[in-house]
Subunit: 254 residues, 2 copies
DNA sequence: TAAACTATTTCTTATATAGAAAGGCGGAAT
DNA sequence: ATTCCGCCTTTCTATATAAGAAATAGTTTA
């Protein structure tokens, strides 16, 4: 019963500081940081100085205020590239894109939700794209998420229900466990999942999960404004999604 | 002459590990990390364990290999949002976008170059966008960069020349300091900078610097494939860039 | 099954860290 | 201008932590 020797105390404190800096768009003073992290100002300052040296934090020399550093972007870009699902799936998603000409997302399961790791845009819309990559959506309210849920076993699903509250985002969000269970059964039969304005008004999505060795490793979806949805287009998208899913999984499973 | 007390040794070692993990797309073993960073494997492992706890590193439980963690994406997204230049400039860049319908970049000076912090895409092209945001281009070979150089004072410029080798990227890259100086004079007269296939074949850009309190805080540019460039379009772009620069700077300088 | 490698834990010493307190600096108020 | 006040920075030392060698556990190869 010997307690493990503690380690990385400075790292953990540094991470607290980083999280605090990442919790706001404002530049923070030493005081704000030391109060916000329960560190003495001398300790916080020494850690901050080191974080500045390694490029994780920026210090405004005039105001003495701190913000996140630019090195983090390099890390993030590399993180995305290290998700080999992105590498594998991207060419097929591009192909899908060329056929449906709508927004396409790729996501991976993360923290009881699904995290966007790739996004293909169709139009002239100028989008602030980085605000989305890395974003996490709940499983029960998105096409990708429901496609993932449809691959869960029954006890896995039960555990999901236990730990998850079905909060409505729109009037269409499914907030009832029985109804969600019905929906999941339907997805298992049809082979694709839908999001009919359940996350965002006017937004319709069709998605499918991606399995490697019978395990969910991600999901992808096509999203569009609802006014562009005709029943013929809907059928086309379903067909193309199924084809794309097959192609990607073929590669994923060697 | 008392040496400063060392601090943040673990942080710096952790950063070495992070940098190593960010230097490749491969997942790395403990051995590879301990060799690549000159840390003993026990030290490296303890740091890695902590990095996993705080979400900076991912450990594959099967292979025991390490990759970067997903928390870095959150940091990166927030970093972008903390660049308040992005907030200020975006609406004007979107307006510009709607007029020229070509790719628009926004950058900030960083490490003897210019770092992309925003990108507005015009077309149906599916772009792997995160690979660009955060990317750094040299000053002498890009429209944004040369626009920044044109705001340098003469001694500042001399210092830049001293520390910078003019490496050619294409046959059109300016690799001669006198020629570059001529070009800069021209930019100062015309008010915008050009990149005529100097960075990438077939790519033509027009850019301008953004000043706050007479200090360069960024730059933006319009990029297009050269075959779409007519002389009328060129003039239109120059005009629109000048207008956009004025509008953004008006806000930047309150 | 053994051999060879790699990951993990243990243990001890030397070292880095935490935090209080003092000192410095700059902006605000008078 | 001068004082005051708040925040940033430095100093110092007991103490908690880190480093590394070596033992152990685990895994792959032959």
């Amino acid at each position: 019963m010997t307690d493990k020797q503690p380690y990385g105390t400075v790292l953990i404190k540094a991470a607290r500081i980083m999280d605090l800096l990442a919790s706001t768009n404002e530049a923070l003073s030493l005081q704000q940081i030391s109060r916000g992290t329960d560190l003495t100002s001398s300790t916080a300052l020494k850690i901050l100085d080191t974080l500045v040296i390694i490029g994780y934090v920026n210090k405004d020399l005039k105001t003495k205020h701190f913000t996140l550093g630019s090195k983090l972007i390099r890390y993030a870009n590399r993180f995305i590239e290290q998700q080999d699902l992105v590498f594998v799936a991207r060419p097929f998603l591009e192909e899908l894109q060329s056929k449906v000409n709508e927004t396409i997302h790729l996501g991976v399961p993360k923290e009881n939700g699904v995290m966007y790791v790739e996004k293909l845009e169709p139009k002239n819309q100028s989008i602030y794209m980085t605000s989305r990559i890395g974003g996490i959506r709940s499983l029960y309210s998105s096409a990708m998420g429901k496609a993932i849920l449809a691959e869960y076993g029954s006890k896995e699903l039960e555990q999901y229900f236990e730990r998850t509250e079905l909060i409505p985002y729109t009037a269409h969000t499914i907030t009832n466990y029985l109804q969600l269970q019905e929906e999941i059964k339907n997805i298992q039969q049809v082979g694709v999942a839908f999001d009919d304005e359940e996350m965002e008004a006017d937004c319709f999505c069709v998605g499918a999960a991606l399995l490697r060795d019978r395990e969910v490793v991600g999901a992808f979806s096509v999203s569009m404004p609802k006014y562009r949805l005709t029943s013929a287009f809907r059928e086309k998208i379903i067909l193309e999604i199924k084809k794309t899913k097959m192609k990607i999984e073929e590669v994923l499973n060697q």
